[in-house]
Amino acid sequence: MNGFSTYAANVATAIRTSLMDRTNFILNSFGMVLNDVFFLVLWYMFFAGFRQVGGWGLHDVALLLGLVMVVVGISGVFFGGYRDMAATILRGEIDALLTQPKSVLARLLARESIATAWGDLAMGVWMLFTFAALSWSDLPLVVLGLVCGTTVYVSSAVVYASLAFRFAGARSFARDLTDFMLLFSSYPGSIYSGATKIAAYTLIPAGFVVLAPVAFLRAPSVSTLAIMIGSAVLYAAIAAFLFHLGLGRYRRGLVPTG
């Protein structure tokens, strides 16, 4: 519990910081809402013209996008440090954290809260309520899906950032990979096949960020539940392992920083 309350305190500070510049905050969060509305309009036009793709209709894509936006929203607000973690590592900024008694990874995740994520969060919640064809009884399932999805998303981001312990090019590459993950996650899973599908369920795990939760919500069963929870646990474990492996390298002075 002590770890949790420390984390909560860190995040609270980060959120306060992001709220400090009011104009900037409103600009960023509202801008993201408009951004998301735009893409919704595009999807609406798409389905008006083509009705469905691979068995996915407007309501299914709405569910998908709603989940993605809430996942990105929660990740950005409460674990916002994920976005620039590679750059933080390469700038040598974790030196200060290493001398402190708490978990480095937790501190890194809690150090920043992204303003635009509030826009995603608001938009995503609205989408889930209005367009995703869900009922109130689905609520606990949705929450479970979101927890798992967020776990996979943040864990993957940590894995990408851990590349920074290996090479300096990771600064922009980690960010790129996170963007790719988002890209993959924003399209109906039915379109992926072959090698792309494999990639979407392993390296760029869009499959487990949203597709597994969507499958679970549309057809809840033991197997879909198991896949969802199992993938979340697996990715979290991989992330923790790789991060601490990299941290060991850092402690041994093998990571060029500055």
Binding site: T23, N35, F38, V53, S172, D176, F180, F184, S193
Partner: protein, 279 residues
Amino acid sequence: MPSTMPIARAEPALFGAVAAAASALGLGIRRNLANWPIMMGRALFYLVAMLVLSALWDKVAAQRLPGTLAHLLPAGGLTLYIGVTEWIALSVAAIHLRLEDDIRFGMLEPHLLRPKSYLVQKLAEAMGDSLGRLIGIGAAAVLALVLSGRAAPSPIAFVYVAVLGIFGTAVGVLLMTLVGLSAFWVRRVLPPYLIMQKALFLLGGLFAPISLYPGWFYHAAIVTPFAATLFVAGDQALAPSLAAFGRGLAAQLVWIVLLSGLIALVWRAGLRKVLREGV
């Protein structure tokens, strides 16, 4: 040999201006090369985006659902079209950010102290940067096309696409210049940028040709500079035709002239403001 009066220049002023612009263009290209990790990231993003979008449209085209617009889609799907529009969209250099930095942080001053126009130079640099991107991403695009085993467009289509792609990128750069110049009056260029970007995606047909839109919408979109940026080049990848190429090129040239004029006016107004009130 003290020189108290400015040196008499041997060449006429126009030659000097063009030479300076050409030099700036070269500098833009070289700067692009110097930042090659970012270029690689951009090319990779292009490939990933193409992977996802082509999967989407292939599926749609393959389904051929009755009562939908699927019958309007070419047999090969929209991959070639989107390949061109994404290529252009990713190649438009972020001149609006450079302008915002220079204008808001007082970095215009060194440029105002020089005898050549800051704006012409910045535009030339941005075009150089864009050319570098066009080549880099273009190479990735051709490679992906070859590896995917899809039917390639005819050679003449390549030529049309290349020409309209370059001029389309130029139109895009001019649009972003207008966004950047708004920094003289607004605090952040991000809002106008997002609006311009979304207008480009929607009215320029980034994700789908505007010819698929309902009639009234199509006619509204085709006359915008956004269609001149993306659509006219992408269209050639689907159905190359000399007539459409000619029309597209003419539209692009018209927009280049109009936007340049508008930019000149906006710049002059902004400059007046800075000279009067300081940066």
